[in-house]
């Protein structure tokens, strides 16, 4: 716990699309920022500091914190950039939380964005890997995930049909989300018949490339309830990184999630996450993760994830809906993706989630994932912590 308790008091996001030729990066950022300010009924003059981030190398613009001030509102304000690969968006949320919790800044604007249409995803992601050992034998962004899926399948005997059920769930949920890029229901058969990208991942098992931005405003306990009648309190955060070389990772079990979730739930007093949580926005870039990672999070015992998904428990109306927004499989502006998870849980807690609202959300979890199998996790609540 920091010096100040921290709550989200406003969120905003763009209507995410595969291409946004009508705006440049600053203008895309501006759309999300003005929506978040309007949501909180604040102006840019009320903001004490800004945290912004996107994927390194994705737009080929290195000093994004400087370059984006026209759109971010950062002109003559304290602003810093954070970038941690796939977890960028959730790291931004954690960084903003630290700034407000420290007592040094009262109201912080947090921005994640990406114009994924402007580069080659695999080329840029490859730069995250060791140049001597891994790059010359690297098989692209999807292959690492596929290797995790294979390892888990071999251990527990699930198939791509089981994973497809996760994709069907998320794509159905996305229909309720006006901001999602892909809003079309699919069947199990359609997933299985879609092209095989990297065994066992089919095209419809995996996330798209998206242009979009998300902004979140966090405020300290001194002002949060004055700004927002039902703010979304951040109960705690945790993060873990696990490897230097690809061979270091325990594929099929995601230790970073297990470790981060264990810390988070221990320090916030959550004993039975499955019963106590009301919603999860999981940074789940491919369908198999929807099974493997909820086991690592401690929602369901290891090996039981697939059965739990098939039961419908994680669908809208189930005991613990996962990804009411449609999640990452429906929408993936990478530098914003983790922050969208955070904003979506905030909307659920605030009761502002519209057609994708889960009734009576008191506690929710949002996560971030990066291609190097690292994890960020945040616990959100309606009640002020402690």
């Amino acid at each position: 716990m920091g010096k100040k308790r921290v709550a989200i008091v406003g969120t905003g996001q763009t209507h995410h699309k595969s291409h946004r030729p009508d705006v440049n990066g600053q203008e895309l950022i501006h759309e999300a920022v003005t929506r978040a300010l309007a949501d909180a009924e604040l102006t840019i003059k009320d903001i004490d500091a800004i945290v912004i981030g996107n994927m390194d190398h994705f737009e080929g613009i290195n000093y994004v914190d400087c370059w984006s001030v026209d759109g971010s509102g950062g002109t003559m304000r304290p602003i810093i950039k954070l970038t941690t690969g796939g977890t960028t968006g959730s790291t931004l949320a954690i960084g903003g939380y630290h700034m407000v919790a420290s007592g040094l800044f009262e109201k912080v604007l947090i921005i994640g964005w990406e114009k994924n249409s402007e580069s080659d995803t695999t080329g840029a992601i490859t730069t995250a890997f060791d140049p001597i050992w891994d790059r010359l034998v690297f098989a692209g962004a999807i292959a690492g995930l596929a290797a995790e899926g294979q390892a888990y399948m071999a251990e527990f005997g699930i198939t791509d049909r089981d994973a497809a059920r996760v994709s069907v769930r998320d794509r159905k949920h996305a229909v309720n989300n006006p901001y999602a890029q892909l809003r079309k229901e699919v069947t199990i058969e359609e997933v299985l018949e879609s092209p095989m990208l990297s065994d066992p991942i089919h095209l419809l098992d995996v996330c798209p490339r998206t242009d979009g931005a998300c902004a979140v405003i966090m405020a300290s306990e001194d002002v949060a309830e004055k700004i927002c009648p039902v703010p979304d309190w951040i109960w705690g955060t945790a993060n873990r990184h696990v490897y230097t070389y690809v061979g270091d990772v325990n594929l099929g079990e995601i230790d970073s999630m297990k470790n981060a979730a264990t810390e988070l739930f221990a320090k916030t007093g959550i004993r039975e996450p499955r019963k106590e949580l009301d919603v999860i926005e999981l940074y789940q870039p491919y369908s198999f993760a929807g099974i493997i990672w909820i086991e690592a999070m401690g929602i369901i015992p290891r090996g039981k994830g697939s059965e739990y998904i098939w039961s419908g428990a994680t669908d809208m109306g189930g005991e613990l809906p996962i990804n009411p927004s449609g999640g990452v499989i429906a929408c993936n502006p990478i530098g914003a993706t983790g922050l969208i998870r955070c904003a979506e849980v905030a909307l659920q807690v605030m009761g502002k989630a519209g057609d994708r609202q889960v009734p009576d959300v008191n506690l929710g979890v949002s996560t971030g994932f990066g291609g190097c199998f690292w994890t960020d996790i945040l616990l959100h609540g309606k009640k002020k912590p402690e």
């Binding site: 291409h19 009508d22 440049n24 600053q26 114009k115 080659d120 080329g123 001597i132």
Partner: protein
């Protein structure tokens, strides 16, 4: 047994094989400016309705007031050199033969200056406050080099 003398090891070096083919959308606002120079040889700026600041390059919103810049105004073609330098050493980043005069030029009617080059003049004759105007390229493609350079207004 392996030779333990590390002085006999020559470290290996690997060259990057990664090339990222970036493309950037100019967006509607910048495109309106670029079409102006390409099709009509005109410079257009956006203006903030609140503080009246006039921006080149055109901004979709005022960075200070944080409101949409709804108004377009034609600026220039006359412009003033705000500051400049003469690059005298050839660099990979400079595609033209040196010396090259880099300058910030403020078109008449604008509150901001744009980065460009000064041509058609002895570099020793360039000065701050000098009056210049754009010289447009014969073949224009909708990018900033459709203005070939700024040249002295007189002469």
């Amino acid at each position: 047994m392996i030779d333990q003398d590390l002085s006999k090891v020559t470290p290996q070096v690997y060259e990057s094989k990664i090339g990222v083919p970036y493309t950037w959308w100019a967006g509607d606002t910048a495109t309106r400016f670029l079409e102006g120079i390409r099709d009509r040889g005109e410079l257009w700026a956006t203006r903030c309705g609140k503080c009246s600041r006039t921006y080149v390059p055109p901004r979709k919103n005022c960075p200070g007031c944080f409101e949409e810049n709804a108004e377009w105004v034609q600026v220039g073609p006359g412009a003033t050199v705000v500051t400049f330098t003469v690059a005298r050493r050839p660099l990979a980043a400079i595609p033209d033969p040196v010396p090259v005069v880099f300058a910030l030029v403020k078109p008449d009617g604008a509150d901001t200056a744009m980065l460009h080059r000064i041509g058609d003049v002895d570099p020793e004759k360039v000065s701050i406050g000098m009056r210049v105007k754009p010289r447009f390229a014969a073949e224009r493609k909708g990018h900033i080099r459709d203005i070939e350079c700024f040249v002295p207004e007189q002469g």
